[in-house]
């Protein structure tokens, strides 16, 4: 037998493992990214292959304002979660509400665009390949925004009731991860639909 002996330290090193909420959300984000990838691939694969109009070049307008709204909501939720971490519940409440407002504005913008496309240009999901891929991709993203708003709404209700404190900041951090992901996806969708797709 070998004579190697391992010295046993008197105080074993602390056993720290990552927070399961964060790991779980990271996994969900990986899975969701794969779903979005498939929709993005379909969008790019079918770009310009519609047999009939209208085409993206004719009808799409770049939603700069609403994009700025959504992207800045990432900043507000980041600071919301930071405020909670430092125990500033008032600041958290205001910033969370602001995030929801910005997200809601974005959703309103999407709705407005869809209304314009349907009623002015007659583009629906069954009109042509562009319609099919556009509404699916943007709709999938809008669904994720809606889910995010619902989750924030639940947090807001609890926060107004005074039930969200410093000890929940790790969970709010998880919610904020999801929201950052929704924003990051929008950067991809925006690039694909409004820049490459035209």
């Amino acid at each position: 037998m070998s004579a190697i002996t391992t010295p046993i330290s008197a105080t074993p090193p602390a056993w720290n493992l990552p927070y399961r909420g964060k790991v779980g959300m990271a996994c969900l984000i990986i899975a969701e990214s794969a779903i979005f990838t498939i929709f993005v691939v379909a969008y790019l694969y079918y770009a310009g292959k519609s047999l009939a109009g209208p085409t993206p070049r004719e009808v799409l307008e770049t939603p700069i304002f609403y994009t700025i709204c959504l992207l800045s909501s990432s900043i507000t939720i980041h600071f919301a979660s930071r405020s909670l971490e430092h125990g500033k519940r008032g600041g958290f409440l205001v910033l969370l509400f602001l995030t929801m407002l910005l997200g809601g504005l974005f959703l309103f913008g999407t709705g407005q665009e869809w209304h314009r496309l349907i009623y002015e240009h007659g583009l629906t999901i069954s009109t042509n390949l562009f319609g099919t891929t556009y509404y699916s991709l943007v709709g999938l993203h809008a669904t994720h925004v809606t889910v995010g708003l619902l989750m924030m709404g639940i947090v807001l209700i609890f926060a107004v009731a005074g039930r969200v404190g410093q000890e929940q900041s790790a969970r709010i951090e998880v919610l904020s991860m999801y929201w950052h992901f929704v924003d990051a996806v929008w950067v991809v969708v925006f690039t694909v639909v409004y820049i490459l797709g035209r």
Binding site: G24, A31, I38, Y46, T133, S136
Partner: protein, 557 residues
């Protein structure tokens, strides 16, 4: 690790009303109970899909047979494939993962117990939804029927024109729902393995079963989701008039094939990795040696995970892809042979010089090694584009993938049943019945799937409901069907063994196999809280350390 890990056996054996018992099982969030539910649910569907296989084989027993109509034949192979993959293989492997992973890494439960229950019920209702198609496939318009589009549901078979009624929609929604269940379980397993390990259980000390399930779950995250996305697209096509796979409006049938096989091929690795996990736990214990080349095993698993994601289009060589694409997918497919070969050599290396005990779990693992090697070799044959052009769509392919799934995955699963049944129920499985099961199954398996290669080489296409006599396929098909019945009888022996041993089997005790991983440190069946106090581990074989304090592994690792 101290001896108080040996949990106190709590035995509230007082008779409870059956409604209460049922209620406690339906509402359970305990990983062990959910694991058992997964396994029982999968066994139920194993019997159902096995019957479908027998119907297929009876129809093909001789030329011009009319046991079932062509329409029923199509439904049978669709339902057989779909059920076996989504509602037998995935749930049964998830069941074992659910049961074993927390016990092996010294955790009291999964990271998200309620998500765990939610995922199980999603999968369960997905299966029931699929089978409801037999009653509701045509909705209110007439008698129901099951989907008949094949388990790959190629476009345009699934378009409204070729698949009226709702049978394809039951298929789509069932797989979508079950897919979300799989993703939930994968998230849960990863979070459990990364965040719930007991002190001292570094990643480098984790049992290989946990490692392989970690890789498998990672693959589920990025491989099952493309299928979910494609199912959403199919629903958009069928219900909202979309054109994703509508070739009349510029859509592409090829895109569906890509999306399906981006899921479909990694799926094979999702199923085989947990089977590797069983073999990696059973072979060392019955060779009385620690696993040979642990770091190489982990590395090979991870590289199978990566390579497995980049081989899907070898299912599509015959559709006419550019030669660069064909070469790429041929090379990646052949490259998978390298990490898989490393694994086979390491298992052999574990057995080499070991004191091998030929108990039933080990017999199944040894058969697994031989059969998985052969299925890998036919896989390499089919992975080469030139060879594939000749034999794609023939019974050679059917023989190949059944060799993987039955000869590889199912044999490893049977081994796992014989190995962990004592832990799950507290009683040993009958060894004699086990040996009868093993030898009958080996006989039936080889009769069916060895011989099935030959009609394939002779040009018999798959998915045909009958064939002309005098092509030299008749005798072979008869023997193949005979083998299928022998496998069915062997499975009945297995089920009988499960039931008889549950009531009559000898008590197992904590550690009937003298094994080394943490699940054997607790009572059989384990208490609800798993560990009275969370164990601390110092090596890859914590129980060895406990049993041999004079010469623990932790001294050498």
């Amino acid at each position: 690790m101290s001896s108080d890990v040996m949990a106190i056996r709590t035995a509230p054996v007082a008779d409870r009303p059956w409604v209460e018992t049922l209620h406690s099982w339906v509402t359970t969030v305990d990983h062990k109970r959910l694991g058992i539910l997964y396994i029982l649910y999968a066994l139920l569907f194993l019997v159902v899909a096995g019957f479908e296989a027998l119907i297929i084989r009876i129809q093909l027993i001789h030329a011009h047979n009319d046991f079932v109509s062509p329409q029923v034949f199509n439904r049978m192979f669709t339902m057989h494939g779909t059920t076996m993959i989504f509602f037998v293989a995935i749930p049964i492997l998830f069941g074992f993962a659910n049961y074993l992973v927390p016990l092996m890494i010294g955790a009291r439960d999964m990271a998200f117990p309620r998500l765990n229950a939610f995922s199980f019920w999603l999968t369960a209702f997905g299966g029931f939804l699929l089978y409801f198609s037999f009653f509701g496939g045509s909705g209110l318009y007439g008698a129901g029927n099951a989907p008949d589009v094949g388990w790959w549901a190629y476009a345009p078979l699934t378009s409204r024109a070729f698949s009226p009624g709702h049978s394809s929609d039951y298929w789509t929604v069932a797989l979508l729902v079950a897919g979300f269940g799989s993703i939930g379980t994968a998230v849960n397993l990863i979070a459990t393995i990364l965040c719930m390990r007991c002190p001292g259980m570094h990643l480098s000390r984790m049992p290989l079963l946990a490692w392989l399930n970690l890789v498998m779950s990672g693959m589920v995250l990025i491989a099952v989701t493309p299928l979910s996305a494609a199912q959403i697209m199919l629903l958009v096509d069928r219900y909202l008039g979309g054109h994703f796979f509508d070739t009349q409006a510029g859509g592409s049938a090829t895109l569906w094939m890509h999306f399906f096989w981006i899921f479909g091929h990694p799926e094979v690795y999702i199923l085989i990795l947990p089977s590797f996990a069983f073999v990696s736990e059973i072979v060392p214990v019955f060779s009385r040696k620690p696993i040979f080349g642990y770091p190489a095993m982990v590395g090979a698993s991870v590289s199978i995970g990566f390579l497995g994601m980049s081989v899907w289009a070898h299912h599509m060589f015959s559709i006419g892809m550019p030669s660069y694409t064909n070469s790429f997918f041929t090379i990646t497919t052949l490259a998978i042979g390298v990490p898989t070969g490393i694994k086979i050599f390491n298992w052999l290396g574990t057995m080499w010089g070991g004191k091998i005990l030929f108990k039933t779990p080990m017999l199944f693992c040894i058969a697994f090694l031989a059969q998985f090697l052969i299925s890998g070799l036919t896989g390499i044959m089919l992975g080469s584009a030139a060879f594939n052009w000749q034999l794609t769509g023939s019974y050679f392919v059917v023989a190949h993938f059944h060799y993987v799934i039955v000869g590889g995955i199912l044999f490893a699963l049977f081994g796992a049943f014989y190995y962990w049944y004592p832990k799950i129920t507290g009683r040993m499985l009958n060894e004699t019945l086990g040996k009868i099961h093993f030898w009958l199954f080996v006989l039936g398996f080889h009769l069916t799937f060895d011989l099935m290669h030959i009609p394939g080489l002779m040009g018999m296409p798959r998915r045909i409901y009958t064939y002309e006599p005098g092509r030299g396929w008749d005798t072979l098909n008869f023997l193949v069907t005979l083998g299928a019945f022998i496998q069915a009888i062997a499975t009945l022996v297995f089920v009988a063994n499960l039931i008889i041993s549950y009531f009559k089997g000898p008590r197992a005790g904590n550690d009937p196999w003298d094994a080394w991983t943490l699940e054997w440190s607790v009572s059989s069946p384990p208490p609800a809280y798993n560990f009275a106090s969370i164990p601390k581990v110092g090596s890859r074989r914590p129980l060895w350390d406990l049993k041999h304090p004079d010469d623990p592994d932790s001294r050498y690792e």
